[in-house]
């Protein structure tokens, strides 16, 4: 064991500890308490943690038919929204990187949806999409198209909700990717230019690999967000019509606060955590396998 290693180890922990301590102090207790709740008999009607019931709450959740539907729906929903956000976000970020004029204006506009709380976003879109009086259907009708039942049709409600979500969250991704692109070094492009590489080749072999760490983090953060949020469902549809927009976090919310079963709500939440964690790990594993060691090195130490 070399002294350099121990020195680095010491410095590293010196940097990391203050943050980790703050996190532990503020999040540690709630996390542990919540975990205990998940294996306890705590409900609003039985306001005590004891007796501990082990896996019973998890079994109850797994056995309820709504759970599996909500789980698959959440997978689909996260996939659709995160893919949409990333593809559109990357496109916009690349275009932003190419222009200089009007850039502040574009940035200012792209920031707007991010500054709205999800509840407000839901209320606003309910107004825009109101089937009988809303402006969206009015414009459709003017254009000679049929009025749509945006949130009241079980076929359309899911896509409407995903669309609104993408509309709000895409700027998040644009911002991170734009900052990532701005921080990329110039030299590789100059070299590629000399070698006569096309724009597509430059994007594929330079931009994308070098952007990988930042892009991966943008995707992970959005994946976590999309898996957990229920605000839009809550304001837009309450999970309906039928069960067509019933996402898993809304399911957990209902268990805890409507069903008064804090223990089952916590259990459902931890299952959601397990799923998100598994997806995150799988995502990183594929990323690394795909990238291979050389690309990984390029990505990890861009210019270094």
């Amino acid at each position: 064991m070399s002294p350099v290693w121990t020195r680095e180890w010491r410095i590293g922990w010196g940097f990391a500890l203050p943050g980790l301590t703050l996190l532990l102090i503020v999040m540690g207790f709630p996390l542990v308490y919540s975990a205990i709740m998940a294996v306890s008999s705590l409900t609003l009607m039985h306001p005590s943690l004891s007796p501990l019931v082990g896996g019973d709450n998890f079994a109850t959740i797994l056995a309820s038919p709504g759970f599996w539907h909500a789980l698959w729906l959440t997978f689909g929903y996260s996939l659709v929204t995160v893919t949409g956000e990333f593809v559109i976000g990357l496109g916009v970020a690349l275009m932003l990187d190419r222009v200089t004029a009007l850039k502040p204006v574009y940035f200012a506009i792209l920031t707007i949806p991010m500054a709205m709380s999800p509840v407000s976003v839901g209320l606003i879109w309910r107004m825009l999409l109101q089937p009988n009086l809303g402006i969206a259907n009015h414009l459709l009708e003017r254009a000679g198209l049929p009025r749509l039942d945006w949130l009241g049709s079980s076929d359309l409600a899911f896509w409407t909700m995903a669309g609104i979500d993408i509309w709000q969250q895409v700027s998040f991704v644009v911002l991170i990717l734009a900052a990532g692109l701005a921080a990329l070094p110039r030299e590789p492009y100059e070299a590629a230019e000399v070698d006569g590489a096309t724009a597509v080749q430059q994007f594929w072999f330079l931009t994308l690999p070098m952007l990988r760490p930042v892009a991966a983090i943008a995707i992970i953060i959005q994946l976590i967000n999309e898996f957990r949020t229920y605000d839009l469902t809550y304001v837009l549809t309450k999970g309906g019509p039928g069960t067509s927009t019933e996402v898993l976090s809304f399911f957990a919310y209902r268990r805890a606060f409507l069903g008064l079963s804090l223990n089952e709500g916590a259990a459902a939440s931890f299952m959601l955590l397990a799923v998100v964690l598994a997806m995150t790990l799988a995502f990183f594993a594929t990323l690394e396998r795909r990238a291979g060691p050389s690309a990984r090195a390029a990505a990890g130490g861009a210019g270094g």
Partner: protein, 427 residues
């Protein structure tokens, strides 16, 4: 822009945050979590008067309905609560006493000789007493009735078409089946939605369907408390409900909430809506709804029984005796005849029969005579600890049936068994 200036700003900000911590509340300050509706504003305007009389300060914190429950639950599960006076919806009227959050009010009533007899029995049963005791005093009601367009009923062309269809005179419907037939007729002939329906899953569609159930003679529970939803009457009610969603209601009924139906009615784009009776003055307002003001009326739910609804006052157990006494003083004052009449003059929806029969009130609001019938004839959604969850269980089935994703028999069966499960869980 240096890092230092950012850090300096941070220090200043931290100081501001530290100073911003609110001072401790005065012991005789009552704090209640309220919904931001006219009822709350009417009382709020009268609070200085109460303070002058008693020296007790009352503060209202206002939130959206759905958020109130989440917030109250967190507060009431802890050892002491920030609220020492509670506004309790009837959907929580089973849960709060069962969780042991509410003080029993009988001792307060006896000591102060507070007369409960003027309170309308349907309201006392809903947001007053239950089998184990008296936990709330009714505050205001939101029982449901039918608001409809009188001008469309008087329209000669429509009357002729109705007669031609062999239905006789065009007048307010008497039964649920008549109502749905009329609703479909209006949609087909009058260029409006026959019914502005609030079909969003959960509270909106459960409340709305309850009117259909009660007015077709069905019930959630029988006299012995057994589940009776899956009955021929229940089937009739659900079939008519689904029929009206599909053929009488506005487009988008399955995502509509109260807000949507109110705007639709206000805009003159619907013939009727089944809703809280005190929506009438809001629609019948020349400033807010010029399209329909003077052309709307209130009726009891066709079939004779609508859904009851109401709010009550409660006193949390996790406060001290002096505070509880102050809370009782306030409840006594705000629900006294004198104050209730004063509130009613500004549009309060009374829970005391002597307010409905008050001359001044009736002179100002002639419709209160009908309103009293709506309130008195109302029946209640099952009040038990899981009422709110049951709304979601029932609402899901109603939404599936109305959206054509399941048939009404299966939906009714699932809704009934969901109710038995929750009742069992409550025991």
């Amino acid at each position: 822009m240096g890092l230092r200036s950012i850090l300096c700003a941070g220090v200043g900000l931290a100081a501001m945050v530290a100073l911003g911590t609110p001072a401790l509340a005065d012991p005789v300050t009552l704090r209640a979590l309220m919904e931001d509706v006219p009822e709350t504003q009417i009382i709020e305007a009268m609070l200085p008067e109460f303070q002058k009389e008693t020296g007790i300060t009352v503060e209202f914190e206002k939130l959206a309905y759905g958020d109130m429950h989440d917030k109250l639950v967190t507060q009431l599960t802890s050892a002491s609560s920030a609220y020492n006076l509670l506004e309790v919806d009837f959907l929580w009227a089973g849960e709060f006493p069962a969780a042991g959050w509410l003080a029993e009010l009988t001792p307060f009533v006896e000591k102060s000789k507070f007369d409960l007899s003027p309170f309308i029995p349907s309201m006392m049963d809903l947001v007053g007493r239950n089998k184990t005791g008296l936990y709330m005093i009714p505050m205001y009601n939101y029982s449901m009735g039918m608001i409809y367009r009188t001008d469309l009923l008087k329209d000669a062309k429509l009357a002729a078409a109705w007669k031609a269809a062999g239905k006789g005179a065009l007048e307010p419907p008497k039964s649920l089946a008549d109502y749905v037939t009329l609703s479909k007729f209006m949609k087909a002939n009058a260029g409006v939605a026959g019914a502005a329906m609030q079909g969003q899953r959960g509270d909106p569609n459960s409340m709305e369907f309850s009117n259909y159930l009660f007015s077709s003679g069905g019930a959630y529970l029988d006299k012995d408390g057994k589940v009776a939803l899956d009955s021929p009457q229940g089937k009739t009610a659900l079939d008519l409900y689904v029929d009206n969603v599909k053929n009488g209601a506005q487009q988008g009924a399955l995502s509509a909430t109260l807000d949507d139906t109110l705007r639709l009615m206000c805009d003159g784009k619907a013939f009727s809506m089944i809703t809280y009776w005190w929506m009438l003055p809001q629609v019948d307002d020349a400033k807010k709804c010029p399209a329909v003001a003077g052309k709307v009326a209130l009726g009891v739910m066709p079939g004779g029984h609508g859904e009851s609804g109401g709010w009550g006052w409660g006193i949390p157990k996790n406060t001290d005796a002096a505070t509880q006494q102050a809370a009782w003083t306030f409840i006594q004052w705000v629900q006294s005849k004198k104050v209730a009449v004063a509130r009613a003059m500004q549009g309060h929806a009374p829970v005391r029969s002597d307010v409905y029969s008050d001359k001044d009130v009736l002179a100002k609001y002639p419709d209160y005579a009908t309103a009293e019938q709506v309130v008195a004839s109302g029946e209640a959604f099952p009040v038990f600890p899981y009422s709110a969850q049951y709304e979601d269980v029932l609402g899901t089935q109603l939404s599936l049936a109305a959206g054509g994703q399941t048939d009404s028999a299966a939906a009714l069966k699932a809704a009934a068994s969901g109710l038995s499960d929750l009742l069992k869980k409550a025991k």
